[in-house]
Symmetry: C2
Subunit: 723 residues, 2 copies
């Protein structure tokens, strides 16, 4: 492959100037960046490269934060449940929480924001029945019911910014200071931040791009005092940590109604992105998002006024920064940077409405990885890691291109890993070649459109919440990963979208996938008859429906799957023991499982799934007879049920076939699809280039039927072949 240059961001490191410039050349970098814990010297910044500088503005000035503790960020916590042994109960508010992260808000009147609940009956304890003792840090409720459970929702001030806290504790940083996150909603904070940034821009003339490590509010991360059980609540998309009294009051003033503590606490479940959001919480998110964008815009404008560009790294303090939020373009960002382990993360970045899309690859140049395993350290194999991540991401880049890639961390660590340096050079060249193809034209895509229906819709396109390895059981994350590299059009819509606008033009298949009650399955949205009727009509009139795990699930009207009449499959939650469940024999050798007959053996069964119609075809069943894969004609359309979905090469192939079958497009398999599912291809028609990739570490042979006949390709491990 030709060695090319550009579109590559290198992490530089002062003290290693020669290495920095040498690697910049080897990897074809056009930009050098600093990282958390490194800085760039003049020898680097003056070498003619673009310079990215990292800023995390809410924790940037610890002295100011210390002097303005009343402007720190706050959030609601629910105290640990306490069983009352008489008609009085005293509750230690911070019991179990990490006291280095949280202190109680003792400034504002607790009766304005706090709530005490009887968690046995679900009723709130009236304000006049409880008192807060600021010295003991307890709430005492009287006149309550013995043997009921009580909790207090209270406002806590966070005195340790979570990323600082995590790195500090994980790396044993001893007496290094604890950074603190200030809330920019306070006018004084805004003024200070603007001044600080103005000053920073003036002092960093070589910086061409200010790389915001997101904006203001971290994803939710509540810690406990038990080192072995740190996370009390941890969610990548939750707005739980945005609730200062000022914000709460401004919201109430604007809307005429108040968010309560319980809107955020939800009886201790808080506001997880995996759960169906309430209308009230959505209003709050919109309120916060509007603020984040409007003040963020001021910071971006300031950066622009210095002739610098503003990129945002979408991680950590990313609340309100969602790239598929409707206000995202209003930030005025010049670029979006996303760290990627997987293809779906690349697609999130690639599809955002922003000029420059950049991926920060893994592994990070750190001695150890995510769970403390060695990476750039003895015993580590960063080349293998990089190749696995590249295989994940490459197939997504065949479908939707990005503009840049890069790395992060301590560059000096690569010195002991020359094979990694060689490998990254190859990846960078490969990336630039694919980018060139994609600039010429878009690759062949199967006609029609796959629409994913869930509670969040477009806002949570491609990413449900967090990385695949964190919640590998979330079916939709797995489906997104498989789809990220398939030659299909994908769109994400919400139930509100469906009811308001119907399905998007050209929809061929709708996917609804997830556990009952999750945001991905849809929970309460399936209580809306219009949702059911729209989809029923769509399938009856020829559309395709794919349901996974507990699609359309809510117990209502004698069904659990609200689309059960279409799937011909429902789940018995033990209330249908005495009702008919149709017998069946498994249809072997189905078209859908043709390439991957052994895949169902690894599928997780959903206990109690049964046939409620005689004309459902069962393509696979668990050992105990529970259907795993079913297919059914309904009216002019087709409906498929899968009990679970875990991504992988076999699963991606099954999904492709499922989509084609549901679209009445079995012929789609005969055009620009690799015969060997361990390989994939993209065809760029205008330049007549066929790119074939090997998704495995073994050599592969594959055949592709093109418009001008069959092509046979032999691929080395992980290889990309151009024809």
């Amino acid at each position: 492959m030709e060695h090319t240059t550009g579109s590559f961001t290198l992490p530089g490191e002062a003290g290693y100037e020669d290495l920095t410039l040498q690697m910049a050349k080897k990897w074809g970098a056009d930009v050098i960046r600093d990282s958390d814990g490194t800085h760039l010297s003049d020898a680097i910044t003056k070498a003619g490269y673009g310079i990215y500088s990292t800023i995390c503005i809410i924790r940037a000035d610890l002295d100011w934060a210390r002097a303005n503790m009343d402007k720190l960020q706050q959030n609601f916590l629910m105290s640990e449940p306490v069983t009352a042994e008489s008609d009085t109960v005293t509750i230690d508010l911070l019991s179990g929480f990490f006291r280095q992260q949280f202190i109680i808000n003792k400034t504002d009147n607790p009766k304005e924001f706090w709530q005490v609940f009887d968690r046995t009956s679900g009723e709130e304890v009236p304000c006049d029945q409880w008192t807060f003792d600021p010295e003991a840090e307890t709430v005492t409720a009287t006149g309550i019911t013995p043997w009921h459970i009580y909790t207090v929702n209270f406002l806590a001030v966070r005195i340790w910014e979570e990323i600082s806290m995590y790195n500090h504790i994980t790396n044993n940083w001893g007496d290094r200071p604890h950074l603190m996150a200030v809330d920019p909603r306070y006018p004084e904070t805004q003024k200070h931040m603007l001044d600080w940034l103005d000053n920073w821009c003036r002092q960093n003339p070589d910086t061409t791009v200010v790389r915001f490590t997101s904006m203001f509010y971290n994803f939710a991360w509540f810690w406990s005092d038990d080192p072995k059980n740190r996370d009390v609540f941890s969610d990548w998309g939750s707005y739980a940590m945005t609730t200062t009294p000022l914000a709460l009051r401004e919201f109430a003033k604007e809307k005429g109604w108040k968010m309560t503590s319980e809107d955020f606490v939800n009886a201790g479940e808080y506001t997880s992105t995996h759960n169906v959001p309430s209308e009230r919480y959505l209003a709050w998110m919109d309120f916060i998002n509007r603020f984040v964008v409007s003040f963020g815009r001021k910071l971006v404008d300031l950066v622009h006024s210095y002739g610098k560009k503003a990129y945002v790294f979408y991680d950590d303090s990313w609340i309100g920064v969602e790239p598929y939020g409707r206000r995202f373009p209003e930030f005025g960002f010049d670029g979006l940077i996303k760290c990627v382990f997987n293809g779906f993360e690349a697609r999130l970045c690639a599809g955002a409405d922003v000029k420059v899309h950049e991926l920060r690859f893994h592994p990070y140049l750190f001695p150890t990885g995510l769970v403390g395993e060695p990476t750039f350290a003895p015993g580590g194999n960063p080349t293998l890691e990089a190749s696995q991540y590249w295989v994940n991401v490459r197939r997504a880049l065949l479908r939707e291109p990005v503009d840049r890639i890069g790395l992060g961390g301590y560059l000096h660590l690569v010195q002991d890993f020359p094979d990694f340096c060689d490998y990254m050079a190859k990846v960078a060249d490969e990336f630039r070649m694919l980018k060139k193809f994609n600039q010429s034209c878009r690759p062949y895509t199967i006609p029609g459109k796959v629409v994913v229906l869930h509670s969040w819709g477009k806002l949570r396109s491609w990413i449900c919440s967090g990385h695949l390895h964190e919640h590998p059981e979330v079916d939709l994350t797995n489906i997104n990963e498989s789809m990220s590299g398939l030659p299909i059009h994908v769109e994400f819509i919400s139930f509100d979208d469906l009811v308001r606008d119907g399905l998007p033009e050209g929809t061929s298949v709708v996917i609804n996938a997830g556990a009952a009650g999750s945001a991905w399955s849809g929970g309460r949205h399936w209580e809306d008859s219009e949702v059911i009727a729209r989809l029923t009509a769509f399938v009856a009139q020829g559309g395709g429906l794919i349901g996974v795990n507990e699609p359309s699930a809510v117990s209502r009207n004698g069904r659990f799957f609200q689309m059960a009449e279409v799937f011909g499959v429902d789940r018995d939650l033990a209330t249908k023991k005495c009702l008919r469940k149709y017998h069946f024999t498994v249809e072997k050798n189905s078209w859908i499982l043709q390439d991957t007959p052994d895949l169902p053996a690894s599928m997780k069964e959903v206990d109690g799934v049964y046939l409620k119609a005689p004309d459902v075809k069962v393509l696979a069943a668990a050992a105990d007879g529970t259907p795993l894969v079913t297919a059914r004609a309904f009216g002019k359309g087709r409906a498929l049920y899968l009990s679970s979905f875990r991504t992988g090469l076999e699963a991606s192939r099954m999904l492709l076939r499922a989509i084609l079958w549901a679209s009445h497009n079995e012929g789609g398999m005969d055009r620009y699809i690799c015969s060997n599912y361990r390989t994939e291809c993209a065809y760029y028609g205008d330049i007549a280039k066929l790119v074939v990739i090997n998704d495995t570490g073994d050599p592969q042979d594959t055949e592709i039927t093109t418009d001008s006949g069959k092509v046979s390709v032999h691929l080395k491990p992980f290889e990309t072949v151009i024809q």
Copy 2:
């Protein structure tokens, strides 16, 4: 063992008089009975034995039924769901149902009883929007919503009594007439039945006991027209087949409010005994039960007036005859006969408030068994079957005695199975010996009381609904079976009992076991804070709680298990992905699993069960880390969670230890408990007899610590040893 006589009911058979009298002697029979399909000749009835004669009064007179088709029994059916393709929908009412069982009630005004439902929205279609076409047998609804699903609840008349139907079709009886079940609620029917019975009594002077094959209403059994999928709805305890228009009208008149079709149809789930009953349905059951008892009493009185006794065989048409119903004694029955496969069925019989308790043993003297397998036919092994059932039942009879045992069927079939004849002689002698011991005194029982808490309470003592082999997944049936042979006191109470009266005096352990929403777990009853508070107080003050599968489950107040704060265990239904779940290590060698360390390997895990408190001990976990057995101290009490319960020798032993642990009575293991859990014992203190039984087909050695020291016993396969 001494050969004794009495307490044994033999099925005689005309044409085999010698055999009948010979077997009567061999088995020590004192009573001879007829069976369905056999009759007794004078040579038998005059031989000096008591004579039982079988009567099923609702199907006894086919001619009268044919002449009174307007008095046949009726029930509500829900038509198969139909998706509307426009604003009009036409529904074929009987589509899919077995037309030899059901015809549509065309006599009464459909608008009085029927309902049409939009099953997408759950709303009823107003009466003026639908019409019934009696010729086409369809209902047409207009002004409805396209793509919604519609069903009709309608009254069907049953033209084939279900037991007749089942036997007829199973045995290919060709043109033998279809018997029909009349409803005794009609005064004319009552008069006819009394006349018929009076006449029968007069014509059968040798009969000493009239054996009612239950009373009037069969358990619910709706058939479809698909021979491969016969059962549409089949429930052993449901009152679904009791709803004639007359009954519905009388109920409305008495109560001032009407039962609707939907009270019985429940969106197609009907009224399964496994589900939590509604208050309205309970009112209906009470209404029917009162009638069954009051008219049943008239029949019993009539039998008594002829100097005969009246026994009831509790099977088939047993609705309203429940032996633990509060009115059961009012029938005036002299005896209760229960067929038994298992110990819990023996306990149901043994504990009923009636003079004579009789068990009808299995196998039935039929060529084939329950699912068509050979019994008294080539390839059958009735002796092995009998020994297995006897082993199941014997351990229950050690705890609570019955008065009689017997067999049923065609006696001539035993001629080819002399080993069966010998074995039954041994069983009969063994039974009579145990009965004698039990007449002397009650065996040793561990102090304290195990209270089973479920929706039905005492009414469904010992039997949930049906036999173990039909729904082996029902945890409580399995628990009942294990408990049936343990040396413990057991009582069954409902949630209403708990709230009204508290726990019974002497309660040491409460068990709540079952799937969420089932009658056994309790469903909506757990929305009652008083239930939670009562049990919380009970455990906090020293009581024991055992929860199985999804105990106390209803999604509410942030918990799924409402007793989660006590168990320290809850189930995450995917809404708690981002919340803390305590890490744990499994405690090996726990006291509870001491005898049965391998048992948890066969336990079914409940997906998503997790620790919500740090002080819970996990005694066993599934391969994926989900807890299977947990134990926790709560206040002064103890709480145990088991993910599932399937009966067996190991499981029974674990349950015994669980009960003792929860009762703070670990010492209970050291008194009259066999060291080898494959053996069990009962100690009759007043007569100083220790009975030791071998529950297996292998020889066993066991030790028992008695009040006067350790005893070692060697037992042959299935043996009963007296010391």
